[in-house]
Symmetry: C2
Subunit: 413 residues, 2 copies
Amino acid sequence: MNAEIIAVGSELLLGQIVNSNAQFISKELATLGVNVFYHTAVGDNSTRLTATIKTAQRRSNVIIFTGGLGPTKDDLTKETIASLLGRPLTYDEDAMEHIEDYFKRSKRQMSENNRKQALVLDGCHVLKNEFGMAPGMALQVEGITYILLPGPPKEMGPMFVNYAIPYLAALQPEAAPITSRVLRFFGIGESLLEATLQDIIDEQQNPTVAPLAGNHEVTLRLSAKFHDQKEALLALDQLEHRITERVGEFLYGYDETTLMKEAAQLFVQKGLTVAAAESLTGGGFGAEMTSLDGSSAYFLGSLVSYSNEMKEALLDIPSSLLKTEGAVSAACAELMAASARTKTGADIGISFTGVAGPQESEGKEVGTVFIGLSTNQKTTVHEVHISGSREAIRARTIKYGLFYLMDMVKKGQ
Amino acid sequence: MNAEIIAVGSELLLGQIVNSNAQFISKELATLGVNVFYHTAVGDNSTRLTATIKTAQRRSNVIIFTGGLGPTKDDLTKETIASLLGRPLTYDEDAMEHIEDYFKRSKRQMSENNRKQALVLDGCHVLKNEFGMAPGMALQVEGITYILLPGPPKEMGPMFVNYAIPYLAALQPEAAPITSRVLRFFGIGESLLEATLQDIIDEQQNPTVAPLAGNHEVTLRLSAKFHDQKEALLALDQLEHRITERVGEFLYGYDETTLMKEAAQLFVQKGLTVAAAESLTGGGFGAEMTSLDGSSAYFLGSLVSYSNEMKEALLDIPSSLLKTEGAVSAACAELMAASARTKTGADIGISFTGVAGPQESEGKEVGTVFIGLSTNQKTTVHEVHISGSREAIRARTIKYGLFYLMDMVKKGQ
């Protein structure tokens, strides 16, 4: 299958929104083993959309559309396809009911326009919209598969994953399905990870290994193509083992997890509470620790002491230490972590002090960061050096904090 | 001018990155009054790129390329265009020097590959790359303008704005330039703003008014097209006046500013210091207040008290009040703000308490938020109700905090 994605909407061409749908769909299709050769964005214009579809028909056998299924007269994707394929639009009873329900529930008045959203291409397979009104459509005409999806990502995403992917997978029952596993790493850069695993990355055919960096982390996506699911899992296990032999200390989780989700699970499981003393991060660690529902089970609070005066007033850091060692020091981080713990009664105190930049401070380079960890057993301090913007340094510092916290808890220290 | 944008890179088609360049360029071209009718993404494949360019030549007279100017053999944008246009590639001395400099400064070894990056289309106008190695190119062949830009957004963006835009503007000297002004609003939703200004939005021809929502704010972009700059500014002033007569209380700034930048300016100008007591926001307000360089001038710290016990321990909130009124109450917000101020010695204390969800709390609905403001003159509490996800509620709460702070300072309360 050779696929292409056509996004319909003048707001894309005016730069008002970014075409994140094309990225989402491409990523999913890659997992399915479907090649994507083109993305196109075209405005709400029937003539230009028709020309775009005709070009697509000559080069692809799966054409996926996003957008243009709304209730207004600007929305013309299905009308244009209907006219090009010579196929009428008919009312879909289920979709109509779904739309009426939607208005009833939100106690709003349905307009005549909204009825238009229940029109589907005659004979198509209707894709259910669980997060909006416009139904999606899938149909095959003369060897080409057409998939029509709504534009809003929160409607399109679930519809694509839950209904379009199974539809496409059923079209190639003979193809071996792809079983994927994402390994998530923190504390190692993309280039070092790749260099360490270069021979493995180069030699792998099935499963394949694809590194990807982003959001201050690195991931490896392992993809195995086997008819037998057991065989696929075994191959993934073997490959993962070869990888973790070399860089296992940096592996923190699998697939769609995050450092925060993993840390939260660990805290809940061990019944531990955490409190923070933040300088560099200004409260960002507390914000991260409270980002998940249920965070009050493990997070007590944070003492954000941005100035030296506040470090004295809120955390009892002696002014003599601030003068001799400086606020950006292992000694200060140690005391801050201990204060966070003792002042709140938390099991673990964590502290952050460092230089976010853009100027150096106290003679310490931009990116110098001290992270203190205090329990009633002992206090440890990690020194890290982070490059990048002020924003990047602060964001990575928070992740380092979670990483070291988890490491300490896992090691039972 | 009818433009289209062709992004070259298999990483786009695999969904590894999103095509943010197309959005950026489209937005800039809209300001210049240039129509964009298509975006295309195509892989690192000469045959498919050639076909894509041929299609573009039939329908557009400005073709803008991003990506494929790197040093590896996968990078083939300029090679493909050279071959299609029958135009050789020649070494550009300045670009070569720039690349050699780059390696000298970073003390790295230049490889033979990197020389390839100094090759440009013969006779082109070279666009300087201030943030990377690959030079951009602009040239006109048979009535069509070709602009080649590197893929990394941090290289492409400045190159496009500083060199490609002036090049394109010079091609249509007779066209009236567009003078734009962005009005930034907070505290009013997009639909209410649009409804309030509907007649103005509908009737405007020159200047035009374009609303855009995002990042929990709404903006209006006013664009005037006049040959005379004075005339343009006068028209923008008049239109702005008509708008602010109706919704001026929500206008907080112009163009590329942010609520935080405006607030920081105000605090510095008035010599005021701020401290916070955060529950709902978990430290996010402190993180925002310390996001800018120089923030220690106006931000002292934050007492993040996520649990009721911490509200008692860190902020002296009486347990009786937490029992009778609850932590999510105006009374609690008032005391929290006062504690933040008195415990730190700040001029202004601000507090945040509320229900982030997903479950309601203390019988209060998700999205119920109290923001307290305390000075040595008086304490006020704002109650707001915010819809959306946990993340959205917390993010908007922080912005409301900045908005109310500024409002109070401006009114001299």
